[in-house]
Every structure is written in C-alpha cells, then in structure tokens.
C-alpha cells in the first residue's frame, strides 16, 4: 500500500504521536487533528505512524491512509524548512500570481511535479485562496503573509531566507 522510501531508514520516534494522541483524545474522530499534529511537528506524515495509529485508534490502516491522501494539506513526502505558498485565488490570479510562481520555480529549479528542493530547504506550492485578497498577490512563507508580491520581490525574499539559513 505505502510506497517504501528507502532514503528514510531511521526509525521514527513514536513518542511524539503518543503526546499528540494524549492531548486530543484516542478516538477515531480525532484522526484529522492527530495527523495535523504530527505534520506540524514533522512537516510531513512519516509512514511509521500509519500502522501505529491504526492499532491505537482501532481504525484500519487503509482508512487512515485514505484520509491522509484525500486532504491537500497532508504530505507523505518530507517538506522543506520553508514552505512557500503562492495564493492563486481569483483576486491574486487576476493580479498576476502565476509569474511569481514561475520565478520561484525557476530560481529553485522546481517544477509542477517536484515541489521540494533536494536540500529540503524550500517547498513551493500553490493554494486556492488565503483570504487576504485585498493585498493580492499574496504569498506565505511558513504561514507568514507577504502582501503585494512581484516576481522581483519574491527573488529578494528567497535571498533573505537563504541568508537566514546561513546565519542559523
């Protein structure tokens, strides 16, 4: 069912999952919240959690997997340290959001299929609407909103984020 990812050989520390289950309650209806909790901590859903959650919650592994793949916010692949979301809502779209996306992809050598850089620093994805239409076009970096973007401003922002990485 799950594609095995060979490059992730380290076993995942399941105590994180236990903490999350303890705070949200061990019931099948909490599954989305639990997965959200895991993703907030790990930036993706490691495959090890599926059999574990299945046993804990008494729900089949397939149905947990079906939830994880249905919702757009869940990722089974590791995401970058900086998740850049380009809003392509109607307002941003008519104020030219696509050139920003293209610029970022070009700068980071990403494509529609490949959204995360190899060094796991950046993930670039589009979202349907962030609800900040008055400031269109908008992008977010790890949920921080950057208003009135242009391709040039996006390039500058990338440079700043890279500098930050060096400082860290």
């Amino acid at each position: 069912m799950l594609q095995r990812r060979s490059h992730l050989s380290t076993t995942f520390d399941l105590s994180i999952v236990n903490e999350i289950i303890d705070s949200l309650g061990c019931k099948p209806s909490a599954i989305i919240a639990i997965l959200q909790g895991v993703q907030e901590r790990c930036r993706y859903l490691p495959e090890e959690i599926f059999p574990y959650l299945s046993e804990k919650l008494g729900v089949s592994e397939a149905s947990i997997y079906s939830v994880a793949t249905f919702y757009e916010n869940f990722s089974l692949e590791p995401k970058g340290k900086y998740v850049i979301k380009i809003c392509d809502g109607t307002a941003c779209h008519v104020r030219k959001s696509i050139p920003i996306l293209e610029k970022l992809r070009k700068e980071l050598k990403l494509t529609e299929k490949k959204s995360t850089t190899d060094d796991l620093m950046f993930t670039v994805e589009t979202v349907s609407c962030l609800g900040a239409c008055g400031l269109a076009p908008v992008i977010t970096v790890n949920d921080k909103v950057y208003p009135a973007m242009t391709p040039d401003k996006a390039e500058l922002l990338l440079r700043e984020l890279r500098e930050e990485k060096k400082d860290a």
Partner: protein, 630 residues
C-alpha cells in the same frame, strides 16, 4: 463565573462603565491583511511611546480603572478586527474623534501620539485622500459612507480578543433574552418571521432549517458552524471569526437553545490560523464566564463548543462532506435524503449554518424580526457582506443592504476601476457563481435576482475584472479549480469537469475547434443535472455565464486564434523588427527552442512555427527590436 442573569447584567454594566473611562482609544487593525503589513509592530510601538511619556495606557479593560492614582485618563490601545479597507492598511482608528489613519508605518507613531492623542488634532497626511480632498473621519470616507454595517458593526471597533469589551457593548444580551424570556418556539418564530436566509450562498431560510431540527425526536442534536469559506476571493467569514468571534458564538448558542442541542462544532479552514486562535480565545473566555458549559447561568441549558480545523478540501464546505470531515473521514458528500437536519453529524439532527448567518442571529433576537425585515427587499431581507477584490480601487470587505445595485457597490463603495480602466465584468459567487457585465449594473444584489441573471451570491466574493482580463481564461481558471477540488465520488463531476477543462485549455492555447462551445454547453448541462452535490451542480456556471455574456471572445479564440483581451500567452505572436535589429545575437542565444536564427550584424529572423512564446528574447533585446503582437 456568572451564576445567574443578575450577575450577567451586573458584569455588562461594569464593563460598559469601564469602557467609558477609556475616553481615548487607538484601535489598531489586527486583521490578517494589516497584520501582514506590520500592524502588530505598530501596536507595540504605540504602547512603548505612551509609556515613555507616562501616559497610562490600557490594553485590556481594567477592573480597577487604571487611573486610580488620579493621573490622566488612560488611552485604550486595542487590537481590533478587520476594518474592511484592506487596500489602505495598516489602519488605525482613533476614538472619540473617529479619525481613520491609513497606510500607517512605524515612523508615524510618534506623530500620532503627539498630535492626535495629546493634541487632539488630525494628522491629515495619514487620512484617506481622494481627488485632493481629505477625509479625516471614517464615516466620511466614500468607502464607508454608502455601507450599512450590521454584521460587521463591531469589526474594527472593539478589541477582538476581549470578551469584556464584547460585554461592554451589549454582548450576550440577545442570548440572555432568548434564554430567560423566550421559549424555543418563540426563538424559531422570530427567526422565521425575520426571513433570514442562509448566507452560505444557497439562501435557504434559516427558520425552516431550525424548525426541522427542533421537531426531531432524537435527544442528541448538533449545531455546526461552517467556517470553511473555500471560495477563492471571499474572506467575510474570516473577518467575522477574527474580528468579532463572540457575535458568531452567541448566534450558535441561540440556535442551540432553540433546537435543543447541547454540543456544537465550528469547522474552520486550516488556511485561517488567526481565526482559529481568536475563536479558541473566545470559547475559552465564554467558558470561564460560565456562558458555555453545564447549566449555563443557573438554568437547565448546557452547551459546549469544539473547533475543528479543516485540512484543505474545498468540497468540505458542502454540508454532508463537512460533517464527514468532522467525524474524521474523507470529506465526501453523500446522497440526500436523509438530509443534514435529520441525519447530520454522527447521524444526529444537525443545524448547519455559515458564519455570517449565525452572526445575524443576535441582531434579530435583540431588535426583532420586524426591524430586520425593514432592511433590503422583502424576499431577501438584511444585509450582505461582500469581499470585493480584483481590478478595483478600494478592495476590501464591505456590507450593504440586500438589493443594493451592482453599480452602487462597484462605483460608489468600490470607488470604480483601478487606474481608471474600463469595467468589463464582475465574477460573483466564486466557482459556483457567474459573471455579470455592464448590462447587469442596475441589477439589485439579492438571492433571487442574481439567480435569474444566471449567477449566485454564493459565498459573496466579488471579483471585479477590467478589459485586460480574458473571460475564457477566467472560465478555465475556475474549471481548473473545480477539477482539482472535485472529490471524485461521482462521475459527472470527476470526469465531466476534466473534459470541460481540457476543452477550455485547448481554446486558450489556440487549439480550439468548431463545435467546442456547443460541446461545453452540453457537458455543462449534463453535469449540472446529474452531479451529486452542490460543488458539481454549479461547477459549470462560470463557463455557461461567460459563454452567454462573452461568446464573441470564445469565437475569437477558436476561429481567429486571437485573444481579444491580449491575455493568452500562447496566442501572442513574437516578431523581430528588422529595422531596429542590430544583429547582436543575444536573442538567439537565449531562445530555448532555437527558433531565432541569423548572421551577426544582420537582422535576425524568428521562425513563428517553432516559437513557444516564452518571451525570453523580449527581455534580452537591448534595442527594443522584438515585440509581442496580440
């Protein structure tokens, strides 16, 4: 903890008095828009500057007054909800004068304190200006002047994170009235008489929904608030949740009282982290004061509220998909009946309304159905909040009485087109809505007349488009959205939208064929009639309405391979002007497909059949010898 009605009243009185102590108030907009342009830093700076000057300032309403030492009156510095005028942010509202400062920066704080707070004068350079006229006070600004803000009345005027301020302006009064003075039937009667229609888009009468839930014999019932708001270009629900969360919670409590429910859920999309945290704060505060929980205010009524975060699925805005998602399943719609009012969340009778609908409820209970019916047309009373965006001067959040014409909304409130461009169309109601044109400018905006015109209020997103927008591209954009968001359960939506999208993509790429328009209409008809849920049923509306109103644009794309708006990249032709070309070969070097050839120092030639119109050569030419022809 409030134990009875008297204590609630006393509490309200106390905070009302405390609010009057704060004679001067600075309300810093803390909506998502202004926060992202730095309003929280401004908030901190203002407090620091006041402290420097030893002017007492209060961030929370202070029980002991704060000027107990006999010093000057405290200045209230508050984080308020969205003022709506997002384009001009960060915004600051100064009371009691009602000055609205726009595009405030950190450097302006000093002057604001000195001139306005200490001196009482207006900093005119920060006020809104148009055509050389300065509008110092908020209510004078044309953007606000034509609005009727009822649901949004507190957004921007009170501290969004303080239940005390909500008490101070008469908060939970409607709930108190409903709890102690009205029976469940009476509450429902009032809502039915008001003819409040669901603001989620469909316009289903709220009173009828509540009656159906109340009449169910089941013990356990649920109140669910739909705060999913996935429509691109809509953010009114977000602003209510962020700016006045107690108002919506109060509406849910009244609904619970009327229908006999003891548990409720607020489903908020994950893209709204600020709304989630404000709601969490509000629920915590209401619970601390004993307004949520067991035996509320000493009565038999108990009610608790949970927040459920969405995980990025547009279809979860649909009732049965939303309840499935709360239950921890894939958010897929199901066949109805049974309807949500009979078997909703956890198969129990459920009232499911959207944020704006619940926010209307306290108003109706306090002011009465008759008063409410006096606003707007008979069949769609009340006001409607719209999120106005696109190529318009004043983008932002507005609220007007139902029945206001499109012209008034766009040109009076919206200030007309940005940069004086020509109005072309307005896309209303997101992916479920349609396009309206200049012919519809006198159309009153309400549920019924929009439906007649082939559009719908939907979530209330108004995206204003100017002449540079290609309508076929807009139709393609929405179809792409619906196709991505289709849950895949029913064939018409899953396969039909895919087919429609492919045709539209062909058309904008210049590969459209004769018969495409007819095929699109036929597919649209089939999908609308056979899809399982509202998402599928309305998916074709943007296509139908753009074909109906802008058929000639489709025809130009298909038959002349031309985009009249000059927007479609693939339909552009790139030319090298031989007179200007100096033969430097820069263009040929960057061309990724080798479409440009020539001898150095002689004019180069571009092979149109090879050209992919990427535009790389355009940026490279130092002589302006390459041009794009529409």
């Amino acid at each position: 903890m409030l134990n009875n009605r008297e204590e609630l009243k006393a509490c309200r009185d106390t905070y009302e008095k405390l609010l009057t102590v704060e004679k001067k108030r600075i309300l810093v907009c803390a909506g998502t828009g202004c926060v992202s342009s730095g309003s929280l830093e401004i908030f901190d700076r203002l407090i620091a500057l006041l402290e420097e000057r030893n002017i007492p300032c209060s961030v929370e309403l202070q029980e002991d007054g704060c000027n107990g030492d006999g010093s000057a009156d405290p200045v209230g510095v508050k984080k308020s909800g969205c003022h709506g005028f997002c384009e001009m942010g960060p915004l600051l509202l100064i009371e009691p004068q009602g000055y609205l400062y726009t595009k405030v920066s950190l450097d302006d704080c000093e002057e604001i304190i000195e001139k306005t707070i200490v001196g009482g004068e207006c900093c005119e350079r920060l006020a809104y200006q148009k055509d050389g006229k300065i509008y110092a006070r908020q209510e004078e600004i044309p953007f606000y002047e034509k609005q009727t803000r009822l649901v949004l009345e507190h957004c921007g005027h009170i501290d969004a994170t303080s239940i005390k301020e909500y008490f101070a302006i008469g908060g939970y009064e409607a709930f108190e009235k409903a709890l102690f003075d009205m029976s469940g039937e009476e509450i429902i009667q009032e809502i039915t008489d008001s003819n409040l229609r669901g603001r989620g888009g469909g316009g289903f009468p709220a009173g009828r929904k509540w009656t159906q839930v109340r009449s169910q014999k089941t013990e356990q019932k649920y109140i669910v608030c739909n705060g999913d708001e996935g429509d691109p270009g809509a953010f009114m629900d977000r602003s209510i949740m962020e700016g006045d969360p107690h108002r919506m919670i109060e509406g849910m409590m009244i609904a619970a009282l009327a229908c006999g429910a003891s548990e409720g859920y607020i489903y908020v999309r994950a893209e709204y982290p600020l709304a989630v945290s404000r709601l969490e704060t509000a629920i915590r505060q209401a619970t601390e004061y004993g307004l949520l929980g067991d035996r509320i205010l000493g009565t038999e009524f108990s009610f608790i509220l949970h927040i459920c975060r969405g995980a990025g699925a547009f279809v979860c805005g649909e009732g049965s998909a939303l309840t499935a998602s709360i239950e921890g399943k894939r958010g897929m719609p199901r066949v109805k009946p049974p309807r949500t009012v009979e078997q909703g969340l956890f198969d129990k009778p459920t009232v499911l309304n959207n944020v704006e609908t619940f926010a209307n409820v306290p108003l109706i209970i306090s002011q009465g159905a008759e008063w409410y019916r006096g606003i707007g047309p008979e069949n769609s009373p009340g006001t409607k909040a719209f999120a106005m965006t696109g190529n318009i001067e004043n983008t932002g959040l507005i609220e007007v009485p139902m029945g206001t014409t499109l012209k008034e909304v766009i040109f009076d409130v919206g200030g007309g087109m940005r940069g004086g461009d020509q109005f072309k169309a307005v896309q209303i109601g997101g992916p479920s809505g349609g396009c309206l044109t200049t012919d519809h400018l006198d159309l009153p905006l309400d549920f019924d007349s929009l439906k007649k015109a082939g559009a719908m209020i939907g979530s209330g997103g108004l995206v204003v488009l100017d002449s540079s927008t290609c309508m076929v591209e807009i139709a393609r954009y929405f179809m792409n959205f619906t196709q991505n968001e289709s849950c895949g359960k029913c064939v018409p939506c899953r396969e039909g939208t895919k087919r429609m999208l492919a045709i539209l993509e062909n058309i904008v790429e210049g590969k459209g064929e004769e018969g495409d328009i007819e095929l699109l209409l036929e597919l649209a008809d089939t999908i609308s009639q056979t899809a399982l849920c509202g998402l599928g049923k309305t998916a074709a509306l943007p296509v139908i309405s753009t074909i109906k109103n802008f058929r000639e644009e489709y025809e130009a794309h298909i038959y002349e391979k031309r985009c009249p708006a000059g927007n479609c990249q693939k339909l552009k032709i790139i030319k090298i002007l031989p007179d200007l070309c100096k033969g430097c070969s820069k263009c040929a070097k960057v061309c990724p497909v080798g479409a440009i050839r020539g001898m150095v120092k002689k004019p180069f030639v571009l092979d149109v059949s090879k050209c992919i119109k990427c535009g790389a050569c355009l940026d490279q030419c130092p002589f302006g010898a390459i041009e794009e022809v529409v």
